[in-house]
Symmetry: C2
Subunit: 185 residues, 2 copies
DNA sequence: CTGGCGGGTGGCACCGAGTGCCGCTTAGCG
DNA sequence: CGCTAAGCGGCACTCGGTGCCACCCGCCAG
């Protein structure tokens, strides 16, 4: 088992039992059988142990967006998100733990939103392309941010339903995109 | 001039000239003529010197939302935001400086989004009331987050236009809410 | 076999944010 | 005049994060 993965696993364990703030980096490093200094070589921040793979999806999202045809950004974004968020049943418990931590450790929530900035930009750029407008235009910018916000709501809602499975996640994604497509009035 | 206000003023000055990260709390305290310990009695965090009054608007927003009639949450939110964000010309430069800092100091952006959680909740609750659905329903939750996301895009866009005035801000708000009302497809 | 080379490691010292504790001043009041 | 209470701020401490450097170990050249 590679060091990074071991550290990540051990860390989520400790966070779950002791709480995030109550667990120091020294403990994490010790539990992972590595020096404190080495810990920071694998994760720039204590926060990033939790968020680590969440944004590995960015590359995937950009790729998936690129593959979508048509001139409707909503449809493209919907398809891309559905494609990217295909989780195997085995992965769901870990996903739940992560979401739980992000949800109720404010610092983590904050850090997560910073990570999402790239997603917002990517979505805005894609929408601008399909609409044939400037990527800096308000409409494109609003679109990018709004889609990410909706996805955060989806994950939050999914996490709140204790026994929702992967299909439920897809259904929520669809529902959210329906709202974005049709508007709220 | 009260201590808090003086500290805030001096801090924005120093942040503008030296940068946020390059300015230590000791400098802020010294520049404000108080002890380091006292600084932390007025602001829980260095970050909060910048964000301070940004979320004083929450109470105002909730109030304004309450005053809006009708069963369309978009219209209500639009009116509430327009009512809350009435800035006098004198306030604009300070607003610009704040927005600039929030925009390009990631830590500040992160902290700001945490503050916005309450706004999201308030908007979701209001929408749920007008639609007569559960406040925890996906539609209401998505609405709350999406509106705040759109407003962030508006402020960002406004900040990006160097000579936009208070009226321009209102116009951007309208444009964003139009998009939310009609949908993106 | 030996001596150099390079990457991963981790100890050490340091910085800055944030906190608890406590002694000091000062204003208000009996 | 003395007592009290509140604001102030120094001091010491914790913890996250960083720069520096010595060390270990596998590798290759001589």
């Amino acid at each position: 088992m590679p060091v990074a993965q071991r550290l990540e696993h051990v860390a989520l364990e400790l966070f779950a039992t002791q709480g995030f703030d109550e667990t120091t980096v020294d403990e994490l490093a010790a539990a992972g059988g590595v020096g404190r200094r080495t810990f920071f070589r694998y994760f720039p921040t204590k926060l990033d142990v939790v968020l680590g793979e969440l944004d590995e999806g960015l590359a995937g999202l950009v790729l998936a967006l690129g593959e979508q045809p048509g001139d409707d950004p909503v449809a493209a974004a919907r398809a891309a998100f559905l494609a990217v968020n295909r989780y195997a049943d085995v992965e769901l418990p870990a996903l739940r733990r992560r979401l739980g931590l992000i949800e109720d450790v404010p610092e983590l929530a904050a850090r997560a939103t910073v990570r999402y900035r790239d997603w917002e930009s990517a979505l805005a750029a894609d929408a601008a392309r399909r609409w044939d407008v400037d990527a800096a235009s308000l409409r494109a910018q609003v679109f990018g941010r709004v889609v990410v916000a909706a996805m955060r709501a989806v994950f939050s809602a999914w996490h709140a339903r204790p026994e929702a499975d992967a299909d439920a996640l897809g259904a929520l994604v669809d529902e959210a995109f329906d709202a974005l497509a049709r508007g709220f009035s």
